[in-house]
């Protein structure tokens, strides 16, 4: 555990090596990336096992000195970090492997692997950070990795726009985080998590300040985790290669917002307002994004909105003081959503389209991908015995136990939506007959299917680390020795579990009726206004276009007006004055000796008078 700092260095090495020498290696670059990410994973596993028995380890050294203040950098291995290390390095390793098949034939193959390495480095660095400043540093770097990978197909106009949008939208959030972090620093005198918590507990920070900083920091999380109202970049980010969507925009980076709130949990619990904000934003995002997901036609966009919605669930959990529930769902979601994205990638790889209207009947053709996709779908829909069932249940209980009744029911409806749109997706893609001529549909190579199988197994079994039936190992371990994080398990009425099950089965059943059995019209929403609004994602993008963008642009134009007319006017004034003076001076240069003589005489006379009056010396 003392050497946990090595873990992020493997992918960093991969990045540096591939960016400099990858061109010569061509597709052999993949082996370097895969091997180094495997090394990270193995090391992370060792650290996790060690963490079961030994206490939290923390090591730091001075990074930046400002007067008497010394800002440190280092690493910390506590329960949450250790768990995140394993999740991140595992998914990264699987995505590295999968990409070898998916990216085969791309001429910038080595660049892709280099970027993956950079991202993995940043993400692992993020989860090891012992203080807010270092978290922020890696927080920005994961954003950079995400930006580079979204824009990987740089020659596509959409990819360019999406990359730019992702960077800017998350940066809006990041500024919130930066401000919150700096304000907190001047209150506490440190960026260290421990010292922040100690100061908060000791009451050294006023409650207004706690609420303010917590909410500002939460804005950062909102940006990164695609929560309303900064969610619009995440669906667009699907322009990146699909394995990237699995790694960054499903399993790891977008969960960083949730992770951040979880890391600062004691700060948030110190302010009921801040918690409530987190819960409301989370629950609203959950249902809001799920409703959009109901009608989208692009396989990756459906999954993207589902990610937004699931992240909302995690925020709801944390906002309802359900620390364990939030982290638990983060973990299960990482597995089943990565699985779903990789399976979607496998489908896209086979049929070369993302439009689900054009798919159908793929169950028979993709004999491996189909069942794997189904497992992921079952898990996310919260069907009993799959991992998503347990973690979602935990969240619902947390929301109920915290007294957020309205939010609880919103989450239940969102769960219904989730089951419905996920099975809509499944039936549209896999059941029935193909809706366009699909020839040469081939199952993906095993380098792609094996990573999916690993994730599928995890999507099933990961839930059993924390169940009301067999014990709440995860919860107990996570909260061990840290009462500020709440209890390992929150007791809730047992009807919640039944409601959740019924709701999810109902959603599946409805989707089956409409999209597989066709008992109900597929155009159930038809061309209604509601459909148009949902399909256009509530016109949020257009709204931003009309407000924020227009205002910014307008301001710029006004300032340009000032620049052209006022500032340049000053310039004209200055240069006019200079040349005017010049002209004035030139008039004296008339060439008339008499005038020069007169001037010289007058000057001499003045000098003599002055000297006579002052007594010969100027003082």
């Amino acid at each position: 555990m003392e050497n946990a700092w090595i873990i992020p260095l493997f992918p960093l090495l991969s990045f540096l090596f591939l960016i400099f020498f990858g061109k010569r290696l061509k597709e052999a670059s993949a082996y370097i990336g895969i091997l180094l990410s495997l090394a990270s994973f193995v090391y992370s596993l060792l650290v996790l096992f060690e963490r079961f028995t030994s206490p939290t380890h923390k090591a730091e050294s001075v990074w930046l000195t400002i007067g008497d203040v010394q800002l440190t950098a280092g690493f910390e291995v506590n329960q949450l970090n250790a768990l995140m290390l394993v999740i991140v390095s595992l998914v990264s390793f699987l995505v590295h492997t999968y990409s070898k098949g998916y990216m085969h034939g791309d001429e910038r193959f080595h660049v892709y692997y280099a970027y993956l390495g950079l991202f993995t480095f940043a993400m692992l660095g993020l989860v090891l950070s012992p203080n807010l400043l270092q978290t922020y540093i890696f927080w920005e770097l994961v954003g950079l990795g995400s930006f580079l990978l979204i824009g990987f197909y740089f020659y596509k106009e959409e990819a360019k726009k999406a990359a730019k949008k992702a960077f800017i939208m998350t940066r809006i959030g990041d500024v919130g985080l930066l401000i919150g972090m700096i304000l907190l620093f001047w209150q506490v005198g440190s960026f260290e998590y421990d010292e922040i918590f100690a100061a908060v507990e000791a009451g050294a920070v006023s409650s207004t300040m706690i609420t303010l900083t917590a909410i500002l920091i939460f804005i950062g999380a909102v940006g990164k985790s695609g929560q309303f109202p900064l969610h619009t970049w995440l669906p667009d980010a699907m322009e990146g290669p699909t394995p990237v969507s699995a790694l960054i925009h499903a399993a790891t980076m977008v969960a960083a917002g949730v992770y951040l709130v979880a890391s600062l949990f004691p700060l948030f619990t110190a302010s009921e307002t801040a918690l409530m904000t987190v819960a409301i934003i989370g629950a609203f995002t959950a249902i809001f994004a799920a409703s959009i997901g109901l009608v989208q036609k692009d396989i990756k966009r459906v999954l993207a909105y589902s990610t937004v919605s699931q992240l909302g669930y995690m925020m709801l959990a944390l906002g309802s003081a359900g620390y364990v529930a939030g982290v638990f769902h983060l973990m299960t979601h990482a597995f089943f959503k990565a699985l779903l994205f990789l399976a979607a990638g496998s489908v896209i790889h086979a049929v070369h389209t993302q439009d689900i209207e054009k798919m159908g009947g793929l169950w028979k053709k993709l004999r491996v991908t189909g069942p794997l996709f189904l497992i992921g779908t079952l898990a996310i829909s919260g069907v009993p015995l799959f991992s998503g069932f347990f973690s979602k249940d935990e969240i619902l209980i947390a929301a109920w136990a915290h007294g957020n009744t309205v939010l609880f029911w919103l989450a239940v409806i969102a769960a219904f939506f989730t089951a419905f749109y996920m099975f809509r997706l499944f039936f549209m893609v896999f059941s029935g007959e193909s809706r366009s001529d699909m020839k040469h549909v081939k199952e993906s190579p095993s380098v792609m299917t094996v990573p999916m199988m690993v994730l599928a197994i995890l999507a099933v079994v990961a839930g059993y680390v924390n169940t009301p039936w067999f014990g709440t190992f995860l919860g107990d371990w996570l909260t061990e020795g840290n009462p500020a994080l709440g209890h390992g398990h929150i007791e809730g009425p047992s009807w919640i579990m039944i409601v959740a099950t019924v709701v999810s089965l109902l959603g599946i059943f409805l989707a089956w009726l409409i999209y597989s059995k066709r008992s109900l019209s597929r155009d159930w929403l038809g061309a209604s206004t509601l459909y148009t609004i949902l399909y256009n994602k509530y016109y949020i993008d257009e709204l931003y276009e009309l407000t924020v963008l227009k205002v910014t642009k307008g301001l710029s134009l006004i300032l340009r007006f000032i620049e052209t007319f006022i500032v340049e006017g000053i310039v004209k004034g200055v240069s006019g004055a200079v040349s005017g003076l010049g002209h004035l001076g030139s008039r004296f240069q008339s060439g008339q000796i008499q005038r020069y003589g007169a001037v010289a005489f007058v000057g001499l006379a003045i000098l003599i008078v002055v000297f006579a009056v002052t007594g010969g010396y100027l003082k």
Binding site: T65, V175, T552, L559, S575
Partner: protein, 502 residues
């Protein structure tokens, strides 16, 4: 150390000028080689001084003092006005010397794009380097002023002769503005000299610090001098609304000249404000702190908003320089350790980043004859490595952690948030805007559909790798390991903090 170390350092480029006198006008490659080689002694000497200082040797050993000019009436006043030739460095000016030497060498490499009259170009170029080095080594206001003027004249010709279409206009507006700035500065220096009888910076600082009862200068007089000084250096920095000359120069001068102009010459403004404004008039500076911070935020946002609507990449970078100099003012306005250190970091960091970006402008202007963003696009296809460096430079500029821009921006804001949180929050908007305009410009150039064929267009050549890689390397080094700057700056900062009583 040894005799006249700093003098040799400062005047070493003169060797190159002398050597160039004997080279025939048409021998392009010889001239370029000599010009490049002539920048090396200063580079080696300044780096040696830096590493020796890092390893613990004192900087005072470098001080030089020779009696130079004396005048006055000894019978009446009993003392002479004497101007001494005094060179010396502290941590801050040492860093600036190193920065100047590095950028001069790299700009000499970038001067390979100069198409005509190489001999005259390099003679002026090297004279400019003497001026810049001298500015940072002078321990005496009058000597400082002389070197300051030495930078003006070569720059005027370098812009006016080797620039783009409107180069003459740009050169003249450069001269008028900077000439006026110099005039104001000269008045300030002369008043100080006449009142105190010395122009040595240290002596001035201690005389004015001891002058609490306003015997030497009245309170209003001090404030007036400080404001005059801020205007003089504000032209250079530039502070809104004194900036329009600088935009023209950025757009019209050749890239190698802009590398030095944006990298070093603008920084003389910041150096002057910190070293003389803050150093000599600490109390008055405190009274103006809010104003300076406000000006900083105005600069930051004004530059950013205007950069947002430019179509010429050079204009974007020009306004971005204005915006980034706002961060220097923000840090100075904060007047605490974090802020001032951030400001100094920003001076160095922006010098490097601006040099990198303008060098890259030169790289693709050389190949495509345009820097207009709508005419470019998809450049990453034909020139992937150049595009990569450009993106890296933009990331550094918008404050990506791991690069120098982040450290300076972070510290400047850290400082300001302590003193004026609301103003700082407004300024923080600039962080978002910076990302917006830089991505808009850089992605417009390198991403998207290519507007033209890239057949026959070569990516970075060997000689072009050097400036790009060296600059990016230093930018990352400072970003990852900021102690390379913080340690030499410790004593300078302590002196400043002592002055403002913080």
């Amino acid at each position: 150390m040894n005799f006249a170390y700093l003098s040799i350092l400062v005047f070493s480029p003169l060797l190159g000028i002398i050597a160039l006198l004997f080279v025939p006008k048409a021998k392009e490659s010889v001239i370029k080689t000599v010009g490049f080689l002539a920048t090396l002694p200063a580079l080696v000497l300044s780096l040696m001084a830096y590493f020796q200082y890092r390893s613990g040797s004192s900087l005072e050993r470098l001080d030089e003092m020779v009696n130079w000019i004396q005048f006055g009436n000894p019978n009446r006043l009993g003392e002479l006005f004497s101007i001494k030739y005094e060179l010396g460095v502290d941590g801050f000016s040492l860093i600036m010397l190193v920065l100047t030497a590095i950028l001069s060498t790299l700009a000499a490499i970038a001067s390979m794009y100069i198409k005509k009259e190489w001999k005259g170009y390099f003679m002026l170029f090297l004279l400019l380097e003497v001026g810049m080095l001298g500015v940072f080594a002078a321990e005496n206001l009058i000597l400082f002023f002389i070197f300051f003027e030495i930078t003006l004249i070569p720059t005027f010709f370098l812009i006016g002769k080797w620039g783009y279409f409107e180069k003459e206009k740009a050169a003249f507006s450069f001269l008028i503005y900077n000439g006026l700035g110099s005039a104001v500065l000269l008045i300030v220096i002369m008043v100080l000299f006449a009142r105190t009888g010395t122009s040595n910076i240290e002596a001035l600082t201690s005389i004015l610090a001891a002058d609490s009862s306003s015997l030497v200068l009245s309170e209003g007089g001090k404030m007036g001098l400080l404001i005059a000084m801020l205007i003089a250096f504000g032209v250079k920095l530039p502070i809104f609304p004194l900036h329009s000359w600088m935009v023209r120069v950025h757009v019209q001068a050749s890239p190698s000249v802009v590398m030095l102009h944006a990298g070093i010459l603008l920084k003389i403004g910041a150096y002057g404000i910190i070293r003389f404004g803050m150093g000599i008039f600490p109390e008055q500076f405190q009274d103006l702190a809010v104003l300076i911070a406000v000006l900083g935020v105005v600069n930051l946002l004004y530059g950013a908003f205007l950069a947002l609507v430019q179509t010429d990449f050079k204009m974007v970078l020009a306004y971005s320089s204005i915006s980034h100099m706002g961060i220097v003012l923000i840090g100075l306005g904060a007047l605490n350790e974090a802020g001032i250190q951030g400001a100094i970091f920003q001076v160095v960091s922006h010098g490097l980043i601006a040099a990198l970006l303008f060098f890259l402008v030169g790289v693709f202007y050389e190949r495509l004859q345009t820097s207009n963003i709508p005419n470019l696009g998809g450049l990453a296809k034909g020139m992937p490595i150049t595009a990569g460096f450009l993106l890296a430079g933009a990331m550094a500029s918008l404050g990506m952690p791991g690069m120098s821009g982040f450290v300076s921006e972070f510290m400047a804001f850290l400082g300001l948030f302590r003193e004026m949180p609301v103003l700082a929050a407004v300024g923080a908007l600039g962080i978002i805007l910076t990302a917006v305009y830089l991505l808009r410009a850089v992605l417009g150039i390198t991403y998207g559909k290519a507007h033209r064929e890239f057949a026959g267009i070569t990516d970075l050549r060997k000689a072009e790798w050097v400036p790009a890689l060296v600059l990016l390397g230093i930018i990352v080094l400072i970003g990852v390991y900021p102690s390379v700057l913080t340690e030499p700056l410790t004593s300078t900062l302590e002196t400043i903090m002592l002055g403002i009583g913080g």
